[in-house]
């Protein structure tokens, strides 16, 4: 008989605990989770990159809806538990749901501490704790007005940097004389303050907040010395308190947190606790590494491994603000029995301080240059005697042996048990083992297999260095490949920054991202134009001069400078009237070649540029629109005859193909998109080598994607099965929109899928109905601006200059 395990709270600690537990004992428990937040488990420490615009919420989801379904876990979203009945062994949610348990895990986390000054409950005063807070801040940031962040600790500074990045005028108020005084000594705190001020963030230290001003909405903050700072948004980030109310009401032993043994059990042997709500041996924790350690211990105990016990350890701290590197760990207070080694380079903004006691490192503060953090931390954790290398210690691992090493060699020099990823407690040996035994070659793969650098990401450089050291030349960190010679930024960076900085024209982008050439080049300009068209469909004015000639004149240039024209034939179907119009057109304009294409269309080749508008006018009269055979966009949907004619057909494949094509034509994509719909698994439309394909089956539609039949040949991946034509359309549109938003320019779907991971795409499109619907809606919105027949526009006079010479000088005169 399975036991019933109920978990209250769906944050990172219980999420990690369940991962371990289900891996160790998949059939031991029926699991039910109550989450007060109306969403799945996400990476809370990555909220700052969401605030600054460097990541989207989807990118920080740890477990999508599919994860719970696949593991038979019941998740109540938006259900806050209001009571635990320890006698009846049940929990009850605010919506009246009562669920019995055999074992209970309380993971209620923490609450932000709100300073009880007058005005703290005004509208516009926020804490910084969950996605709701971030969304409220993003909304407020649209005003581009003034914000005050109370609290100059880790969270407060990340919030301040994020709001600044979003265009707000930000002031940080900090009670203490220097920033982040718990993690940094005064010197490093001062350097940090300078850097923030250089970025336009005002910092006031020793600022005592007296009250928050405003009638029904915040208008400012008043300090005890009478200073008033105007603000339409106040973020309080002064600390957290374990959320123990529920446990206390249930009569569990509570001190600062819920009192737990090193085995993570509370004063009730059937009730356990993990996360920020826990107090173990007098300590409470707020950083993710010890919380993950708790998760590991509890999963062990719940699955019968009682050997594990939680032990206190120091956790290094890093700040997740792009461009600011700081690292601190251990104890760095001054004392008579302590010595210190300090390195300062004011010009380079570098400060390093090691605190020593009895020839051992006990504290580390690094600012500006943090690459040796892991090495120092390893020496500290192991209490290594450093007297031998003391002379060069501060210069880091590179100088240990005298000769300087490159960064890869520095990682290579670390011992196998040196910790690389602090969040997840992953040491070097584990990563090297995974790389060699599983043949991993990309950062994403290493993250997927080991979780190293998959949480806060600050150790990404170390992991990449380790991959370079392990794989040698086989490791190619594609992530940093610049998009062209005009910039050092990758396609990924550029796409992210277009959204984050709301760059809405190519000149604005080149200015903001410091393009190295004056007008870009033929590589970046079309890419940038596509990204803008995709990201700002209603605001961006398509820059035709940044489009390749084919897309500029809506025909395909041929080697002799003539053009070819392919009219659209929906789903590959045509009629006698259409064929007659094509025949007439060929005769009238003396078109030398007519050819049937691989995508079930008719191609007319060898048309002079000057004739294009007249050719289109004739074709338009017969009802033809552009076939976009020249576009990085939706090309063709190839179909078989399906149930209309075929004795094997299971669905109306032609009808579905026509429907998809009519819905999606005109859309621009990173590279061309070719589709097909086959009416049965015999697959006469060859749907399994297309960018997106459908195989109709008796029970519905099997949706395929990421095939290729060009430079590369690759069968498709199955996205999933759906029952109705409507669902098929929604899924196809959603996956194409996801590709539109994430693909690099000229990157076909199969390459994008390889980069993102087929699993991840399935998770979002098949497993997350909300995400799918959102992609679908964004596509539909974008289509309202895209579905205009470009041929008709040009027949009506648009871009006339394209098709006529500017002037003609008579040959006679020229020859004189």
């Amino acid at each position: 008989m399975k036991q019933k395990l109920v978990v209250i709270g769906n944050g990172m600690a219980p999420g990690r605990m369940l991962e371990h537990l289900i891996e160790a004992a998949p059939d031991a428990y029926d699991v039910t989770i109550f989450n007060a937040e109306p969403r799945v488990n996400y990476d809370r420490i990555m909220l700052s990159p969401v605030l600054s615009g460097e990541k989207t919420f989807d990118e920080i989801v740890i477990h999508g809806d599919g994860w719970y379904v696949e593991r038979g876990v019941t998740l109540y979203k938006g259900h806050k538990v209001v009571a635990i009945d320890r006698v009846a062994k049940t929990v009850t949610s605010e919506h009246g749901e009562t669920v019995p348990y055999d074992k209970l895990v309380v993971a209620t986390g923490s609450n932000p501490f709100i300073i009880p000054v007058p005005g703290h409950d005004l509208a516009g005063v926020l804490s910084y704790r969950d996605l709701d807070d971030v969304e409220a801040m993003l909304l407020a940031a649209q005003s581009r007005e003034k914000a005050v962040v109370i609290g100059g600790g880790l969270l407060g500074l990340e919030a301040a940097a994020g709001l600044k990045e979003r265009g707000m005028d930000v002031t940080v108020l900090h009670l203490m004389p220097t920033l982040m005084e718990r993690q940094l000594d005064p010197s490093a705190g001062y350097l940090l303050q300078n850097e923030l001020q250089k970025r336009g963030i005002k910092v006031i230290t020793e600022a005592h907040t007296a009250r928050i001003l405003g009638e029904d909405k915040v208008t400012g903050v008043e300090l005890k010395d009478g200073t008033v700072i105007d603000a339409s948004l106040v973020v309080m980030a002064v600390g957290i308190r374990p959320n123990v109310a529920l446990a206390k009401d249930a009569g569990l032993e509570v001190n600062r947190g819920i009192v737990c043994s090193p085995a993570m059990s509370t004063s009730d042997p059937d009730i356990f606790s993990v996360g920020e709500c826990v107090e173990v041996e007098g300590q409470v924790y707020g950083l993710v590494a010890p919380l993950y350690e708790m998760a590991k211990v509890l999963a062990g105990h719940l699955s019968g491994d009682v050997s594990k016990a939680f032990a206190h350890s120091e956790t290094p701290t890093r700040l997740k603000v792009t461009g600011i590197n700081l690292y601190s760990a251990g104890d760095f207070a001054e004392g008579d029995d302590r010595e210190e080694i300090v390195l300062r380079d004011a010009t380079a903004g570098i400060y390093k301080r090691l605190v020593l006691k009895n020839d051992k490192i006990i504290g580390i503060v690094l600012y500006g240059e943090t690459a040796d953090g892991a090495w120092f931390y390893d020496l500290m954790k192991k209490s290594t005697d450093i007297s031998e290398m003391r002379d060069t210690l501060i210069f880091g691992s590179a100088y240990k042996g005298g000769a300087p090493l490159d960064p890869t060699a520095a990682v290579a020099a670390l011992p196998l048990d040196a910790e690389i990823c602090g969040c997840n407690g992953i040491c070097k040996g584990t990563i090297v083992e995974a790389i060699t035994s599983k043949g991993l070659t990309s950062l994403d793969e290493v993250r997927a297999h080991t979780k190293a650098s998959a949480s806060c990401g600050t150790c990404t450089g170390l992991v990449e260095g380790l991959m370079a050291a392990t794989l040698g030349d086989a490791f190619n960190p594609n992530a940093v490949k610049p998009m062209c010679g005009c910039t050092d930024l990758s396609h990924n960076d550029v796409r992210r920054l277009i959204k984050a900085k709301e760059l809405k024209s190519i000149p604005a982008l080149m200015q903001a991202l410091e393009w190295k050439s004056s007008g870009g080049c033929a590589k970046c300009r079309p890419a940038l134009n596509y990204y803008m068209v995709c990201d700002w469909p209603d605001e961006y004015a398509d820059d035709y001069q940044s489009r390749f000639i084919n897309e500029r004149v809506h025909a395909n240039i041929q080697k002799d400078g003539t053009y070819s024209v392919v009219p659209r034939m929906w789903g590959g179907q045509t009629s006698s009237a259409e064929l007659r119009a094509i025949a007439d057109c060929v005769d009238k304009f003396d078109i030398p070649t007519v050819k049937v294409t691989g995508g079930q269309r008719i191609d007319m080749l060898g048309i002079k540029k000057e004739d294009l508008p007249a050719v289109w006018a004739d074709l338009g009269k017969a009802g033809f629109v552009s076939g976009h055979a020249y576009a990085k966009g939706l090309r063709t949907v190839k179909t078989c005859v399906g149930t209309d004619w075929c004795r094997f057909g299971t669905q109306d494949s032609t009808g579905l193909g026509v429907r998809i094509e009519k819905f999606m034509w005109g859309s621009w994509t990173p590279a061309k998109v070719k589709m097909a719909v086959s009416g049965c698994p015999r697959n006469c439309a060859e749907a399994t080598c297309k960018d997106v394909g459908v195989i109709c089956v008796d029970s519905g539609y099997e949706i395929h994607f990421a095939g290729a039949a060009g430079l590369d040949i690759k069968g498709t991946e199955i996205l999933g099965n759906v029952k109705t034509e409507d669902e098929a359309l929604e899924h196809i549109v959603a996956v194409v929109q996801m590709y539109r938003e994430q693909g690099h320019y000229l990157e076909r779907i199969y390459k994008w899928a390889k980069r993102i991971g087929v699993e991840e795409i399935r998770r979002q499109i098949m497993g997350d109905a909300d995400a799918r619907k959102a992609y679908f809606d964004r596509f539909v919105f974008s289509q309202t601006f895209a579905q205009v027949d470009p041929w008709d526009e040009r027949v009506s006079g648009k871009d006339k200059h394209e098709f006529q010479p500017m002037a003609t000088l008579s040959k006679l005169q020229a020859a004189e």
């Binding site: 050439s517 004056s518 007008g519 870009g520 080049c521 033929a522 300009r525 079309p526 035709y544 001069q545 940044s546 489009r547 390749f548 000639i549 084919n550 500029r552 004149v553 240039i557 080697k559 400078g561 200059h801 006529q804 010479p805 500017m806 002037a807 003609t808 000088l809 008579s810 040959k811 005169q813 020229a814 020859a815 004189e816």
Partner: protein, 124 residues
């Protein structure tokens, strides 16, 4: 100014149209018998005229993407500097250039440049 037969060669400079007839970062053609001239307008409104024929495989340079002071050929991506006609980067090649002048928004092209090339082109 389209399609006008020019009363050419009476003066040293032939007017071929207004700067605004050409889109910024774009080009238009001037036909002179067998010779086709591509007239470019850069983002800064500088005007350049070069032969509309890539030294690589004869591609129509007027159809390329204009960036900075260069154009990239639409056929195989050779990059040509508009002021000198020289191929950029590792490529080698040269395109004939024609002197231009802009007066009161009207573009003029050097008649003697056109005449000498057009003669060669029609003789060929």
């Amino acid at each position: 100014m389209k399609g006008d037969v020019m009363n050419a060669f009476e003066s040293e400079w032939i007017s071929i149209g207004a700067v605004t007839d050409i889109p910024r970062e774009g080009a238009r053609c001037v036909d002179a018998g067998a010779l086709r001239v591509a007239v470019f307008r850069t983002a800064e409104d500088d005007v350049y005229a070069i032969e509309d024929r890539c030294p690589h495989r004869g591609g129509p340079l007027s159809q390329g993407i204009v960036h900075g002071g260069c154009v990239t050929c639409p056929l195989h991506n050779m990059v040509i500097a508009l002021d000198t006609g020289e191929a950029q980067g590792a490529d080698e090649g040269h395109v004939t250039t024609f002197r231009t002048q802009v007066r009161d928004g009207i573009i003029f092209i050097a008649a003697s440049d056109i005449a000498s090339i057009a003669q060669t082109a029609s003789a060929a």
